[in-house]
Symmetry: C2
Subunit: 467 residues, 2 copies
Amino acid sequence: MSSDLHLDSGEVALLTDLYELTMAASYLEHGFNDPACFSLSVRRLPPRRGYLVAAGTERFFEAVEQLRFDAAALEYLDSLKLFKPDFLDYLGRFRFTGSIRAIPEGTIFFAEEPILEIDAPLIEAQLLETLAINQVGVATMIASKAARSYSAAQGRRLIEFGLRRAQGADAGLVAARSSYLAGFNGTANVLAGKRYGIPVYGTMAHSYVMAHERERDAFADFATSFPKLSTLLVDTYDTVKGTENAAQVALELKQSGVELQGVRLDSGDLADLSKRVRKALDMRGLAQTSIFASGNLDEYAIAELVRGKAPIDAFGVGTAMVVSADAPSLDMTYKLVEYKGRPRVKTSRNKVTLPGRKQVFRAWNRAGVPYLDLIGVIEESPSTVAREFKPTPDKITELMVARMREGRRIEPNPTLAQARETFLEGFARLPPPLKALERPEAYKVRYTAALNAMQVSEKLKVAERQR
Amino acid sequence: MSSDLHLDSGEVALLTDLYELTMAASYLEHGFNDPACFSLSVRRLPPRRGYLVAAGTERFFEAVEQLRFDAAALEYLDSLKLFKPDFLDYLGRFRFTGSIRAIPEGTIFFAEEPILEIDAPLIEAQLLETLAINQVGVATMIASKAARSYSAAQGRRLIEFGLRRAQGADAGLVAARSSYLAGFNGTANVLAGKRYGIPVYGTMAHSYVMAHERERDAFADFATSFPKLSTLLVDTYDTVKGTENAAQVALELKQSGVELQGVRLDSGDLADLSKRVRKALDMRGLAQTSIFASGNLDEYAIAELVRGKAPIDAFGVGTAMVVSADAPSLDMTYKLVEYKGRPRVKTSRNKVTLPGRKQVFRAWNRAGVPYLDLIGVIEESPSTVAREFKPTPDKITELMVARMREGRRIEPNPTLAQARETFLEGFARLPPPLKALERPEAYKVRYTAALNAMQVSEKLKVAERQR
């Protein structure tokens, strides 16, 4: 059975804008299918962001590898009476045959830097546009948002709780994956646990307490069902009384050798309540019982609670993070930068693009801190661009690596755990002023002389193109 | 083949928070599975919203009808070492057997009004929580946002263009469906066209122009490929020169009896450019060629362009609408309101719930305008609540209707076209002050005396529940 929440493999191919298909059809008709390169990048950082965290590329690569137009897809396209049989035949045989270079998941990167570049025959590369932006955009946006909670929590544990408020099923999965990648410790999303091996966590809802005649009975029932997972939600009615009831249950449990794991606060003034609850627990010899807080938390609220020394051991972060509430979209674009071996540029107002196939060179100082990225052309290398960095770097790394060749991912595929390591290491090395939640310092990103020259020369050709 | 974008039917069952499963397991263990009622509603309207548009329920009902835990799901749950065999057996046999009453898709409704209520054994109803909020929330949020563009466009055509910036694959489908429901004329999303029968539209991207050596060649090629779909994107380089090139192609086409459909502007000052482009086209006898505008449009920008009499015939609306940028989440909750025939209430600070199974009664005046909604208990009817409306209504309607019974949808299922009709009719009757884009007037929603009395009496019982 298949409900509207299911996507068949033939349907993923149609998860695209109609114009990708009309352009492709016109390219085919007019013999435009030479090698092209498209570049995916974020035009500018969202407000209050000092950096981005690369995510979503691996899911995209998997989808690209498997992209097929099945009979039902072709039948629907035929029914539109727009496409000629030649083009539908082409789609029926469609396989991605190109190569993709990308910045690995978990890497910290910045505006204008290509998160990936696709080298493929023009039609193939064009057909990937919508899916690339849709998938890499949301994953990168949420990872970049989640990193801010990771930063604010200063080592306290973080659980992603946002599936219900995520913008749909797919966004819920992406939120769990991207937040784990960006330092979270787990998720409440069971399917994300199954798919990605992310640790799953869960407590209880208010309804559980309300279904019982007495709060204390609810706590006792839950603790006997899940002695090792017993975090009791104490704010269904009065939070302080709720804590007393939880403590009573904890003391009863203790007699049978079981420690109550924690209590959860989900409303009210968390700074004040957490202190009162901590005191109430400690007074009863329950110093081991942890306090878990949730309820409209985001990086700003977490930072405030940490600053106020609220005795909270773990945070559940939901809505604001999973929809990236203060910046719910990323200005990500997918642009033709080369066709038939020649660079391309667009000059629409405020939307000028960087021509040519590129690489990003990152300079590190002796302390292992990055201080300047140069976006260059692909023919350049760390040694050829070294003299453009001032001061002289201790090390220059290339951010983009080959990830697909002849339409297949290059094995071994990086794991989510590796991406998380990449993030944790990169984040630890990032200068603190870039991590500020408000008005972060801007990291320096420049173009190499070669890329600059190419852009100037391409802009000069524009008049010619409009003749 | 199945990529990470695919959801199997067994996976939809796991698209849930772990606590739904731990609560369910504990309920089963302790014999809590009597009839329960849960109510799904929006706690408060998002900023700047005067009303909500119901959407997403039909997709949810379809998923509920098909919800199953398959072998892979059970195996994963077993691997967590949390659940006893009895509970996994229960899940293996799980079918939803309950009933659902709901406000039909396309209906305008308000905060606190239940968009749906589920009557089912406690465990079944609890297990639907996460999916209900996830699916109905995003669809209602986007429909409510799209209605604002519909309102601002004052009859001009609207095409949904946001798939690439939607928060994932599912959100892209929801955005197309919800915006069409709320008055849009079509979408660029091909899969949404196939699934929902929504008209699909597409033009060309800048890359199409850039792949050609000369802009004019690109226009000519496209127009020969799609003579009936020829909307030419004129802003890749200089917009006015681009328009001249488009006009030249249009005049050539005219000689072979084909009308250029339109030109598209995607950047710059659309108010000014549209006037200059209109003049340039008219001067060349191309009065039939329409102007299509896009580029960071939302209801505010559309209203401004309409006020300024910009000669734009159709708008492409993307990012801001599909992520509901100014209000990217809905404060939607799913609350236990009755268990074992007795009402339930929660009293957490600022989160008090309405007890009992409910109905929403809407009063209409003689002019066919709604002026007051009363949320009442399910035993009430239009005749019993009539005397609570002042002034006396011409008509009282009940908003919630039965949609599922014994786990199956009640045939015939309403179509998307019907939902769109429901919206268009309801919107036309809505008092204009409620439709204001900024500071809309608040529609009056009150409780019936019976619901008020029930809430007071349930709150009094809370002390007892915390004994």
